[in-house]
């Protein structure tokens, strides 16, 4: 079962929930945690393990071979992303604009633009007891997170059993990187905080998941701060409110040091038991 942890707004507790849930469930069995927030991956700050595997990740971009090129201009014409530009007597490729669609390369009548790999980031695979942790990080200056998220998903599909319990720590927002991170999930846990910003961005995330037709529920983090609008919204919209993690400076301090919270704060552990029951129930329903 694949469970993505997402949120519209950043900083609501996605990583806290992902890492703590992964370790909590690993007490009972095999768990895979993947950090798909490749722009700013943080799960690794909370999860330590032994390195199992490490690989560079590449995206394919065209490379100009001058001696083959007839300067016909077709490559520039077919590129919808302005990533291939023809100057008077040369072709320039802008890798950061390229979407790796292969059109310029495959349509080139003289095969002058073969696709070559260009490094965009790296994937790390760790393990500790029952817990497997996979993280990818985008190289600084690379603008597109989607190809790396997609390749990380493929790595997980390939290496782990379909039925294994998997948590995906997703990027914030509602645009393309989030879609890529959650689109294959069986269920999404939306983490929010009970504030106007939290509510506003929760609504965006809810609209996105409805569009994608993925089932979801909400965990309220920092419960007790702000107001009741998030709780009321969930009730009015018949959205499952799975758990409420209390607002506490102690939790914020533990988090600040890179420590897990559920073992130290009994109320959080209690809320995790609620989440466990909930996940167990939906898993049973779907299988």
């Amino acid at each position: 079962m694949k469970i993505a942890i997402a949120s519209g707004k950043g900083g609501t507790g996605k990583t806290t929930l992902s890492t703590n849930l992964a370790v909590y469930f690993a007490e009972k069995g095999e768990v895979i945690l993947a950090d798909l927030d490749v722009e700013e991956p943080n799960s690794g700050l909370f999860i330590k393990g032994e390195s199992v595997h490490k690989e560079n990740k590449y995206k394919m971009i065209p490379e100009w071979e001058q001696e083959k090129c007839s300067l016909c201009g077709l490559c520039q014409e077919v590129c919808n992303f302005h990533a291939v530009i023809q100057l008077v007597d040369q072709i320039l490729v802008f890798p950061e604009l390229c979407h790796s669609c292969y059109a310029c390369s495959e349509l080139c009548p003289t095969d002058a633009l073969p696709m070559v790999p260009k490094k965009m980031g790296e994937l790390n695979h760790f393990r500790r007891d029952n817990l497997t942790f996979v993280e990818s990080r985008l190289d600084i200056g690379q603008e597109q997170a989607v190809p790396l998220i997609s390749q990380t998903n493929e790595y997980i599909e390939k290496h782990f059993h379909k039925e294994a319990l998997k948590f995906f720590d997703s990027p914030p927002g509602t645009s393309c990187p989030v879609i890529e991170a959650v689109k294959n999930a069986d269920f999404v846990i939306l983490v929010t905080e009970p504030t106007p910003f939290g509510l506003h961005d929760l609504k965006l995330a809810v609209d996105t998941l409805k569009e994608l037709k993925i089932r979801f529920g909400v965990v309220v983090n920092r419960h007790g701060i702000g107001n009741d609008d998030v709780v009321n919204y969930c009730m009015n919209k018949n959205i499952d409110l799975i758990a409420k993690i209390p607002n506490s400076r102690r939790i914020a301090e533990l988090y600040s040091r890179g420590e897990l919270i559920y073992q130290k704060i009994p109320e959080v552990k209690h809320q995790f038991e609620e989440i466990e029951k909930y996940i167990f129930a939906i898993n049973k329903k779907s299988s």
């Binding site: 700013e40 077919v78 669609c101």
Partner: protein, 292 residues
């Protein structure tokens, strides 16, 4: 006219609350641009009037004319994004998967595929509650090209600032280090990094600063909730020193951040707290630096 960009790497560090306070303090001398188009929240504090709104079109999406389609499958063969599955015996483009590269349309022997430009969101020009102009946007669900919408919002704000002889543009950026952030940084005069003393905050600060460095823009940093973890705060300060980043200020952990927001107010308008004075001083420092 100077562009001040506020970013954070990590989400939830207080970036938008601080930016909105700056927008409030700047009053009619500034134009505000909310470039966090993916999860734009500043309007909740600045109460813009949404006076002018326009659809934003960017990128294309393939559309198959089923009457012309002979189901040869060439489009699906060339599509690198698996965006054209066969559903009920028909080739159908999945809008959320289509990247709009147009390759399928080029190879279709029947000319059955057209590229239609995509409405990816809306952008607005507003007057806020403090009478300054704010340019903001809302990205459509799952839309691509957020970098382009960011550029649009920024350029509109620039234009307005120029026409009205405004001194500053205040830009609220997105979290992360990807295309929307790159887009908000280009052309900036001064960058404000908002961070928090958590291991994640420091990690993300370092990554986003590596990006800022490529642009060679003068940078300052505000440490929010500095007293949450004095040790990490110290590490952040050392990092700032090493990198010659100006340490603008350190704000204490204070739930006024949230209560002000819950009341639809910026921190500098709300109640009495030490935060108010520190943020005012921070703003003075920022504009002093941005002027150069």
């Amino acid at each position: 006219m100077k562009e001040i960009v506020i970013i954070s790497g990590k989400g939830g560090t207080g970036k938008t609350s601080i930016t909105a306070s700056f927008a409030y303090l700047g009053g009619i001398d500034v134009v505000v641009a909310d470039c966090d188009v993916d999860a734009a929240d500043m309007h909740l504090l600045m109460q813009p009037d949404f006076a002018k709104s326009e659809d934003f079109f960017s990128g294309e999406i393939a559309v198959i004319n089923q009457d012309k389609c002979t189901k040869c499958g060439k489009c699906a063969d060339v599509c690198r994004f698996d965006a054209i599955p066969v559903i009920n015996d028909l080739y159908v483009v999945q809008p959320l998967d289509c990247e709009g590269c147009g390759y399928c349309a080029r190879v279709c022997p029947e000319d059955a595929i057209t590229n239609e430009s995509q409405n990816v969101g809306k952008w607005y020009i507003s007057t806020t509650k403090v009478e300054n102009t704010m340019v903001h946007a809302r990205l459509g669900i799952g839309a691509d090209n957020s970098g382009k919408l960011v550029a649009k919002v920024k350029n509109e704000a620039k234009q307005i600032a120029k026409e009205n002889n405004k001194d500053f543009i205040i830009i609220d950026g997105s979290p992360g280090i990807g295309c929307p952030v790159v887009s908000s940084l280009s052309g900036a005069s001064f960058v404000v990094l908002v961070t928090e003393p958590t291991v994640a905050g420091l990690h993300d600060l370092k990554r986003v600063y590596m990006l800022v460095k490529k642009f060679k823009i003068e940078t300052g940093c505000i440490i929010n909730k500095y007293d949450l973890n004095l040790q990490v705060s110290g590490e952040i300060e050392s990092f700032l020193k090493e990198e010659n980043i100006i340490h603008i200020s350190s704000l204490p952990y204070d739930e006024t951040f949230t209560t002000a927001m819950t009341n639809g107010k910026t921190i500098v308008e709300y109640g009495e707290s030490d935060l108010k004075e520190i943020i005012k001083e921070s703003w003075e420092k920022v504009i002093g630096r941005a002027k150069g």
